[in-house]
C-alpha cells in the first residue's frame, strides 16, 4: 500500500510542469540588460511584444521615446532606437569623421566595440532620405571572401550627433565554409532564373544565409541586372545553396 502511494505521488509530481527557468524568471534579467545598456537603473521600461527573425527572437521593451530589442536567448540588447532623435535629422552639422567617432564612442560606452576589430567598414555615408538626413555606418564581418550574418550598424543624427538607430548582430558560424558549387556554376544557375533578359551587369559573392529558424547555409548571393524591356528593369537577386546548387530564394527588381 505504501509503495503504491509513493508511486502515485511520483506520477503526480512528474505530471506537473518543471519549475526551472520559466519565461517569467527570465523577465527581470531582460529589464536588467536594458538598464545596464542604458546606464540608467531607474529607466521606466515597458515590455511590448516579441519580434521574430530567422536568427533570433527578441523581447522588445520601450521607454518614453526609445526601444530596446533584447535577444531572448543571450539577453544582449541587439537593437536600440531613439525615436525622438530622428526628428532633428534635418541638417548637417557634423562631418562624416565626427559621426564615425560618435558611433565608435557609443559602441565603446556600451561594451560593443570588440566586434569592430574583426569587422570591415563597408558603408559610411550621409544618407539623403529627403527630409531625413542620417550618417549610416555599417561594419560587416567577412571570413575571407564570405560575408557572415554578423554586422554592426549605427545611424547618427548629423545635426546633434545622437544615435538614432543601432543594430549589432554576432552569431557563431555553424556551417562549413567550403562551397561544392563553383562561382561560375552558381552564376549560370542564377542567369537561368531570368530567361530572355539581356544581362548588363552581374555580381556574385559567397555568404552565410539564414534560411530558417537559427539555420545557416553557405550560399552564393547573385545579383543580375538586365537591360530594361518595355521600360521595366530586368533581373533581380538569386540565393543559391553553395553545396547543392538549389535556388533558395529569388527576388525581382521592382
Amino acid at each position: 500500500m505504501l509503495s503504491l502511494l509513493i508511486l502515485a505521488v511520483c506520477c503526480i509530481g512528474l505530471s506537473f510542469p518543471a519549475y526551472g527557468m520559466s519565461s517569467s524568471d527570465h523577465i527581470p534579467n531582460v529589464y536588467t540588460s536594458v538598464e545596464e545598456f542604458a546606464k540608467d537603473p531607474t529607466i521606466d521600461l515597458k515590455m511590448n511584444r516579441n519580434e521574430y527573425t530567422p536568427h533570433a527572437v527578441y523581447i522588445v521593451l520601450s521607454s518614453a521615446n526609445e526601444e530596446f530589442w533584447v535577444n531572448e536567448e543571450s539577453l544582449v540588447v541587439e537593437r536600440y532606437s531613439s525615436f525622438d532623435d530622428l526628428l532633428s535629422c534635418d541638417r548637417v552639422i557634423l562631418s562624416k569623421e565626427e559621426a564615425i567617432l560618435k558611433a565608435k564612442i557609443f559602441l565603446r560606452d556600451h561594451g560593443c566595440d570588440s566586434n569592430l576589430e574583426s569587422f570591415t567598414l563597408v558603408k559610411d555615408e550621409l544618407n539623403n532620405g529627403g527630409d531625413i538626413l542620417t550618417y549610416d555606418i555599417l561594419w560587416q564581418e567577412f571570413i575571407g571572401e564570405i560575408l557572415t550574418p554578423n554586422f554592426t550598424f549605427i545611424s547618427v543624427n548629423p545635426n546633434t550627433g545622437s544615435i538614432v538607430d543601432y543594430i549589432d548582430i554576432k552569431r557563431p558560424i555553424t556551417v562549413l565554409l567550403n562551397p561544392a558549387i563553383s562561382k561560375e556554376e552558381a552564376l549560370n544557375i542564377a542567369v537561368k532564373q531570368f530567361k530572355g533578359i539581356e544581362i548588363e551587369e552581374s555580381s556574385i559573392s559567397p555568404r552565410i544565409w539564414y534560411y530558417g529558424e537559427n539555420l545557416q547555409k553557405l550560399v552564393w548571393d547573385c545579383t543580375i541586372t538586365g537591360k530594361p524591356k518595355d521600360n521595366v528593369l530586368q533581373g533581380g537577386n538569386v540565393i543559391i545553396d553553395a553545396v547543392t546548387g538549389e535556388v533558395i530564394s529569388r527576388s525581382r527588381w521592382l
Binding site: 525615436f83 550574418p149 545611424s155 543594430i167 521600360n231 521595366v232 528593369l233 527576388s251 525581382r252 521592382l254
Partner: protein
C-alpha cells in the same frame, strides 16, 4: 425677384472660381492600394492587401485594387486620403536613366508619371503635373517602386511632384529595390504606423525610417530600401486617426 436670382447666380459663379476644384472628402476617408501580378511573374498584390487591411483597422474606407489600370488610380487619388502602389518603376534603355513613374498592369500596361517633359509614352499615361488642387488633401502617398524618388529627365520625380501638389507625406525610393526586401519594408511600415511603438502608433516619418532597420535586421541587407526618399509635412503626423490631409 429676378434681381435676387441674378444675385444668387453671381454668388455661385464667384464661389466656383474661388473654391478649390474637384476633390471629394468621404467619410470614412478613402484609401486605395494597388498591387499587380505582372507578366514577368512579379506579384505585389498581397502587400497591397496588407496595407489595405491595416488602413481598414484604423477606420479608413480602404480599397484593395489588384491589376488595375493607371486611369483608375488617377481618378481615385483625387478623393483619396491614402494612396499606395507597389509595382515596377520606369527605366529607359536608351540612356540608362530611370524614375518618375509607376507601371500599372491590368492586362495591358499603363503609366502614372510625375510629369511630361520629352517622352511620349507608348502606353496610356497620366501625369500628376496635370493636377492643380485636386490632390492637395491626400494625407499619404507611398510609391513602392524602383526609382520612385529619383528625378528622371524624361518623367520628373514622383515624390517631389506629389509633395508640390500638396500631398502631406510622400515616400518613394531613389534606387532600384528588390521585391523581397521592399515588400517587407512595406508591411513593417504599415505595422509601425498602426502600433509600432509599444503597441501605439508611430509618426509616419518614424515608421518609414525604422522599417528600413527592420529589413536590415531580418535580411542583413537592404536590397535597396536604404534609398528611401520621403517628404513629410510638419508638424509630423500619424496615419491615424483616419482623415484627409491638410489643404
Amino acid at each position: 425677384m429676378l434681381k435676387k436670382w441674378i444675385l444668387l447666380l453671381v454668388i455661385i459663379l464667384v464661389a466656383s472660381l474661388i473654391l478649390p476644384a474637384g476633390a471629394t472628402q468621404y467619410n470614412p476617408p478613402w484609401a486605395h492600394n494597388y498591387g499587380f501580378l505582372y507578366p514577368d511573374g512579379l506579384d505585389t498584390r498581397s502587400h497591397a492587401l496588407f496595407a489595405t487591411n491595416v488602413q481598414d483597422l484604423i477606420f479608413y474606407d480602404a480599397n484593395y485594387a489588384s491589376n488595375t489600370g493607371a486611369h483608375s488610380a488617377f481618378v481615385n487619388i483625387q478623393d483619396d486620403a491614402v494612396f499606395y502602389v507597389n509595382g515596377h518603376g520606369v527605366s529607359f534603355i536608351d540612356d540608362g536613366t530611370a524614375g518618375g513613374g509607376v507601371i500599372f498592369y491590368n492586362g495591358t500596361s499603363s503609366l502614372l508619371l510625375a510629369q511630361y517633359t520629352d517622352w511620349l509614352p507608348p502606353d496610356d499615361a497620366y501625369f500628376l503635373s496635370d493636377f492643380s488642387t485636386e490632390i492637395n488633401d491626400v494625407l499619404l502617398a507611398v510609391y513602392v517602386a524602383c526609382w520612385s524618388g529619383r528625378t528622371c529627365p524624361h518623367t520628373g520625380n514622383l515624390v517631389d511632384m506629389s509633395a508640390s501638389k500638396g500631398i502631406d507625406n510622400v515616400i518613394g525610393f531613389k534606387n532600384s529595390i528588390d521585391n523581397v526586401t521592399s515588400n517587407y519594408w512595406s508591411d513593417r511600415f504599415f505595422y509601425r504606423c498602426k502600433e509600432g511603438f509599444g503597441g501605439q502608433h508611430q509618426l509616419i516619418i518614424q515608421a518609414a525610417t525604422y522599417a528600413k532597420g527592420d529589413v536590415l535586421l531580418k535580411y542583413q541587407t537592404y536590397g535597396g530600401v536604404d534609398s528611401l526618399y520621403g517628404k513629410y509635412r510638419t508638424p509630423w503626423g500619424y496615419l491615424d486617426p483616419a482623415r484627409y490631409g491638410v489643404v
